[in-house]
């Protein structure tokens, strides 16, 4: 029923690593307890990813600004 509208919006989708990281590391179902993955390991890679994310944001800001200035 809604397949067409969903496909249209999917085509318009801007996949960004930033949004992906926000969702996969901050969202989703959390299981407490029996997690075999060491938390320290996650935190270490997490730091690396945030640095990557920061550079993505900077890039977006730089791209975004001229358009904003001209809009005024």
């Amino acid at each position: 029923m809604t397949t067409t509208s969903l496909e249209r919006s999917r085509a318009a989708r801007e996949v960004s690593l930033l949004d992906l990281v926000d969702r996969l590391l901050d969202g989703g179902v959390v299981i407490h307890g029996d997690i075999t993955l060491a938390v320290a390991d996650v935190d270490l890679v997490y730091v690396g990813l945030r640095a990557l994310v920061a550079s993505v944001e900077t890039m977006k800001r730089e791209v975004g600004m001229p358009r904003l200035g001209s809009a005024l």
């Binding site: 809604t2 949004d19 926000d22």
Partner: protein, 230 residues
């Protein structure tokens, strides 16, 4: 050698496509208990790392389940593992009421992400509180300037969030540590309302020249799956 199950998503009864693979190419397996299915892959000595490849592998599996249209799913947080099939079954039994309630909440809806970069420097003409700071000393002026910019950004963020949250079943300001000039939110939107939502984002973009708005999705309901929702 430690055997583990890496977890991707909980579904309301359907499993992965036959022959599909997940993290590091491992075969996907659905483990069913009481009508709920946990989609998993078996690993030995797995060290999931939050690098780009593993993140996309997780996302690809979740999306493939989300796209089947067979029913609601709850994505798991990246990096979640359990020691084996028995532990997965135990989790499905123990948390069935909570997960069924969450599946009911997200059924028939998708997640849309909205980010706005708010350009406060471009807007002083519109803000008397910012303009007044010129009369004060340099230190005070700087502080007032920052306060004025923060207020202005918050105002713009509110004017984006208010109409969008009205179109959503649920909404969440998700992300921590954001600078005041960055607004990020997630919206759980009924599939039939998605075109209206997109039109509203376009209208906001046109009416708010100081904000660069980016809308992403449809995402599986990552921001609305846990009991720890923001």
């Amino acid at each position: 050698m430690t055997a583990t199950r890496y977890l991707y998503a909980i579904t309301e009864g359907f499993g992965p496509a036959p022959g599909a693979s997940g993290l590091r190419g491992a075969p996907l397996a659905g483990i069913e208990e009481g009508g709920l299915v946990m989609v998993t892959s078996p690993h030995v000595d797995l060290r999931a790392e939050a690098d780009e490849e593993d993140l996309w592998s997780h996302e690809a599996v979740v999306e493939s389940l989300f796209d089947t249209g067979e029913g609601a799913i709850l994505p798991m947080r990246f990096g979640t593992t359990l020691p084996g099939e028995a532990a997965v079954r135990a989790a499905l039994r123990d948390r069935a009421p909570e997960w069924r309630a969450a599946l009911d909440r997200v059924r028939g809806a998708i997640e849309l992400g909205v980010r706005a970069q708010i350009d406060v420097d471009a807007a002083p003409e519109q803000s008397p509180s910012v303009r007044r700071t010129e009369a004060a000393g340099p230190g005070t002026a700087y502080m007032l300037d920052r306060l004025g910019q923060g207020r202005l950004a918050a105002e713009v963020a509110r004017s984006i969030h208010a109409p969008l949250s009205e179109l959503a079943r649920e909404s969440a300001h998700v992300i921590r540590n954001q600078p005041t000039t960055m607004m990020k939110a997630a919206y759980l939107v009924e599939e039939v309302v998605v075109p209206d939502f997109q039109r509203e984002v376009e209208r906001l973009e046109a009416s708010l020249p100081d904000a660069a708005i980016t809308c992403t999705g449809p995402w599986p309901p990552y921001s609305f799956s846990g009991s720890e929702r923001a």
